[in-house]
């Protein structure tokens, strides 16, 4: 897809060190985010979803971690191998990021205003006054009326919801083309969660940016995304539009995940639990990483890593990794996909 905003191909990351034991938390991630699209990356803890986001921003702690292979193209530019100076210019300017716990991700001893303003001055070259005015506007934009007063506050003087709005204001301050939101509502209560999700969607509409929404919560992903990628053990196992992935999941893992969510509508029925546990990055099974827990696994699954193929058209037509089939594609990495 030539006009993809962000295109990750075959990204592999390993961790060195005694305790990490040479683990490979990312084993070839393929991901495409189109302009203005809300793309959800969903997976369990340790699946590599946050790490993928970190790689895009270029904030990987380099001594223990190492990018083994792959490419990350953003707005047509290869990010891997780019000088740190150049990458820094993208961070905050073209790619914004919102994190899970706003209370931790804000500098506790710095006024909110200063934290918003510094990126504006750095990236947009605004004067301090101009930056402050812009910051106040941004706070209004994220639903914090009376922004000027809030600029003078310290993070601890704000409620959890307000802090997350401030984080979002910071992330979108330079009107980035891509906003990475890493579990932005996990630490919030449900009522606040919905507000923040609405805010993200509205901002997307107003600023025309794409959102890479990283989450473990299938219900939230269902509520917000346009496209969904499911990651398991450092590899994308399924990717497609929200309707396709939730409506007709191809990968047994996706299917099992969806069936395991408790909801009122399922009262009285047993949940479809996935047996076993998520393997840690140092002990990923050979072949399809999911095969030990997969009820359908056959011999081939044990031996051969399945390729990510496009099943949108029905029969398993082999598509090059990354899928050039565009927005309508439905990729899955399973030997058995589409058979049953």
């Amino acid at each position: 897809m030539a006009d993809a905003l962000l295109s990750i191909r075959d990204l592999a990351v390993s961790f060195q060190g005694r305790e990490a034991g040479g683990s490979r938390p990312l084993r070839g991630v393929d991901l495409e985010v189109g302009p203005g699209e809300v793309h959800a990356l969903v997976g369990e803890s340790g699946s590599g979803k946050t790490l993928t986001a970190t790689c895009v921003l270029g904030l990987l702690p380099v001594p223990p971690a190492r990018i083994e292979a792959g490419s990350i193209r953003f707005q047509g530019r290869e990010l891997l191998g780019l000088a740190e100076r150049e990458r820094r210019k993208l961070r905050g300017r073209r790619i914004g990021m919102v994190f899970q716990e706003p209370s931790k991700y804000l500098n506790p001893s710095m006024r909110v205003g200063e934290q918003i303003v510094e990126a504006l001055i750095l990236h947009l070259g605004l004067s301090r006054r101009g930056a402050r005015a812009r910051a106040a506007e941004l706070l209004e934009l994220v639903g914090l009326p009376g922004g000027r007063q809030i600029l003078r506050r310290y993070p601890h003087e704000l409620s959890g919801g307000m802090r997350q709005r401030v984080m979002i204001a910071m992330a979108v301050s330079c009107e980035p083309a891509l906003l990475i939101a890493d579990e932005p509502t996990t630490a919030l209560d449900v009522t606040l969660q919905r507000q923040i999700l609405r805010l993200l969607l509205e901002l997307r509409d107003r600023l025309g940016m794409a959102v890479l929404f990283v989450s473990h919560d299938l219900a939230v992903v269902h509520g917000i995304s346009e496209r969904v990628s499911v990651i398991y053990c450092g590899k994308i196992v399924e990717s497609g539009s929200r309707e396709r992935v939730f409506g007709r999941p191809l990968h047994p893992y996706t299917q099992a995940l969806l069936a395991s969510v408790p909801e009122a509508s399922r009262r009285g029925t047993r949940l479809a639990a996935i047996p076993g546990t998520v393997p840690d990055a140092a002990h990923v099974p050979a072949g399809c990483a999911f095969h030990p827990r997969c009820p359908l696994a056959v011999e081939k699954c044990r031996l051969e890593v399945p390729a990510l193929l496009d099943y949108a058209a029905g029969p398993p037509g082999r598509a090059p990794a990354g899928g050039e089939a565009g927005a309508s594609s439905h990729l899955a990495a399973c030997h058995l996909a589409g058979r049953s």
């Binding site: 369990e44 803890s45 639903g143 914090l144 409620s159 919801g161 307000m162 709005r165 209560d189 449900v190 009522t191 969660q193 919905r194 507000q195 999700l197 609405r198 805010l199 969607l201 509205e202 997307r204 509409d205 473990h216 919560d217 299938l218 219900a219 939230v220 269902h222 509520g223 917000i224 929200r242 939730f246 099992a256 995940l257 969806l258 395991s260 969510v261 408790p262 909801e263 009122a264 509508s265 399922r266 009262r267 047993r270 949940l271 479809a272 639990a273 996935i274 047996p275 546990t277 998520v278 827990r293």
Partner: protein, 324 residues
Amino acid sequence: MSTPILEVRRLEKRYAASGILSRSRAGLKAVDGVSFAVEAGSTFGLVGESGCGKTTLARALLYLDPPTVGEVLFEGTPLGGLSRAGLRGFRRHMQIVFQDPNGALDPKMSVRASMGEGLANLGVPRAERERRTAAALELVGIQPAHAGRYPHEFSGGQKQRITIARALSVDPRLLVLDEPVSNLDVSIQAQIINLLLDLKSRLALTYLFISHDLNLVAYLADRIAVMYRGRIVELGSTARILDSALHPYTRRLFASVPRLTGERIAPKMEGDSEAGDSSRKGCRYAARCERGELACHSNDPELHDAGGGHLVACLLPEKNDQGG
């Protein structure tokens, strides 16, 4: 109607102000006059957002952190009247499973030793203890052969199974489950929930299930109590709470829950604002309530029966026009 297995009457838990500077928090009421009853054999769900007092309530009703005011009756026996030793004897009937499986097992003790503690307290001899420990582990799907291992050798899901087995080792009748699956991965969560369902039917247990996850409670509970700021604001059967909630907070809460079966979220921010604290007097929810009237700010509504055992604490409950 038979005696409920657990009855909580006007329970309060206050925390004394500590230090001179924290006057503002003087006598903070974490739980403020909560009453409810749990029928034997049922699953009673307690939901609320973080900080609403649900965990404090659980610890208080188990007398792990005794309540400041109020009564807890187990099968009609008031726990407050018991001596220390008497209370210890009673504990075997009510057990608790905590949210964090990592902290729930003593890292310095083998699983066997942790498991045997409750039985040892009951004076069960060692051989019998080991047998019953093994049986309890078997029950929750842990190989009894692994009983000699230490907590760090197990995964989070396995640890939670072990803590459930430990709770069950003394044959309790009531199990308080305080967010037992919140710290677990989605795929493991379902395993534990299924296990809990199995155990309940096999051992004729009663569950008091505490969670912030409305989907989960809606899936599991027979009756649901909704807590807001130390109070129960609404209590009723799961169906009533889901379909015809009377309290505006309950409605809003359940409307906010993302569901797999739900609609895509609309990018509109109508009425979203950061509400401040509500006044000390009056309804706690008044400041955030879209229906709040003047009276709500001065009168504190009591929990009252709106018909059919559906209790609500609201001066202006939703018109319940969906029948029942």
